[in-house]
């Protein structure tokens, strides 16, 4: 389980990127963090990844405090961030270099097979399309079998078709070891297609504004009425999060649950 308690981040210039964020993500749950730009989604991800230190509060993975990059936490960035001098197989195996070579080779081959890039193992990142590169990045994160996987708008630079196929690929990978996934996104359709719960964030300072449970059976049909209803609920919560505090009427405590 991933638990964030009273997490705050104030940058040196005084910007309050996050203020008192509390969030618990069950083991194996997929949570979509959604919100307008500047609401601290990426800051939150960087804190959980251990790349930045919080100003206050604590992050725990299965009770262990995260105080720097943690072996149980994997990250997929917005850009593929592959190492251009390594071939695809070596990029995928980058996090496994402390393992014996046969095990490494087997796990890399299995991961490449799962993302459908086995025949590209010996090619360089530059020879692959953007979608293929992002698949390599996802395989690189999955191959270390993290308990928590963070994805920071990993599909935002891709076209809609590629994105949809990567969504399926991601769910297939998730189905194997069922890691906890935190997916940062600004795409409502993506959140509804993938997540068990959408956490809507609100900017200035970044904080959790609302939560929308997404209890749709998988595989999810984007054209189904339930999918559209869920999208509308997330969209409405997102709209509310973008209206300034002052102009917003006080919301009844269970607004999210009652919004249909």
């Amino acid at each position: 389980m991933l638990a964030l308690a009273h997490l705050s981040k104030t940058y040196a210039d005084g910007t309050r990127a996050l203020a008192d964020v509390n969030l618990e993500v069950r083991a194996g749950e997929i949570v979509a963090l959604i919100g307008g730009s500047g609401c601290g989604k990426t800051t939150l991800m960087r804190l959980v990844a251990g790349l930045d230190r919080p100003s206050a509060g604590a992050i725990r993975v299965d009770g262990e405090a995260v105080e720097g990059p943690h072996p149980a936490v994997g990250v997929v960035f917005q850009e593929p961030r592959l190492l251009p001098w390594l071939d695809i197989a070596d990029n995928v195996g980058f996090g496994l270099l402390d393992r014996p070579a046969p095990e490494r080779r087997a796990r890399v081959a299995a991961a490449l097979e799962r993302v459908g890039l086995a025949e590209h193992a010996r090619r360089r990142p530059r020879d692959l399309s953007g979608g293929q590169q992002q698949r390599v990045a996802i395989a690189r994160a999955f191959v270390t079998r993290p308990r928590v996987l963070l994805l920071d708008e990993p599909f935002s630079a891709l076209d809609a078709l590629t994105r949809a196929s990567l969504h399926e690929g991601l769910l297939a990978l998730w189905g194997q070891d069922r890691p906890t996934i935190v997916l940062v996104t600004h795409d409502v359709g993506e959140a509804v297609a993938l997540a068990d719960r959408a956490v809507v964030m609100r900017p200035k300072p970044g904080r959790v504004d609302d939560e929308v449970p997404l209890r749709l059976a998988r595989p999810r049909d984007r054209a189904s009425p339930a999918f559209e209803a869920a999208s509308r609920r997330v969209m409405a919560a997102l709209d509310r999060s973008l209206t300034p505090d002052e102009s917003r009427p006080a919301r009844e405590p269970q607004g999210a649950a009652l919004w249909w």
Binding site: G50, P69, V75, P84, F94
Partner: protein, 272 residues
Amino acid sequence: MTATDTLAPSPAPARTALRVPAAALGLALPVVMALAWEGAVRMGIAEGRLMPPPSRIGAMLLDLARSGDLVLHGGATLGRVAAGFALGAVAGIGFGALSGASPPARRLLDPTLQALRAIPSIAWVPLFILWLGIFEASKVALIAVGVFFPVYLGVVGAILGVDRKLVEVGRVFRLNRSQLARRILLPAVLPDTVTALRSGLGLGFMFVVAAEFMGASEGLGYLLVDGQQMGKPDQILAAIIAFALLGKAADTLLVAATAPLLRWQDTARERL
């Protein structure tokens, strides 16, 4: 042949037909000028005493090659450049790596090195001669100084310019400092380091001429001075051509030697 083959436009032959002259175009100007000068001298339009025609320069090169002088002088020059380049490059990479990797070292070293860089390297000559004598040591030292600064600057710049995003990938996978240096920083700085070495090598050839002007009994620079004092412009031009060929050959060798390390680069670098 399939239907698509016949339907497809065939621009390939047209393009290669254009490309061959394009490559030859660069040769056209010097060749035409050389032929024109040769013709002018042959027909008595020009005298050609101070600017000998290509045939005389070629004959002089051939003479020098036959007598073994070309190998002697070229070898002497090449030896000095090699020694000076090796010293300057090793020092430049060493100090550059230190300055680039450690901010305290950078704050300590960089101001001094930048101040030394502001001194025109030739200005060191009298001091080097006083300290190291008039023979090889002072020449090699001058070349080493000339090579040092571009290599130092290039390496520092390369290290400071490493993509923070790739460094973060290393951090996410919890690499320690030496792993980070070996697996991310080193490969990432190699291309710029090679570029820095290439400009260092070019400066090495520049400074070897200066060094050999200061008094040498062998070397291509000596051939230049000798040609001036003896009034032999064909020898000067032959030495200049030998310099150009040696410099280009050394650069090509450096590029070829480092190419396997940089094959991953997604750039048009090899065309430069």
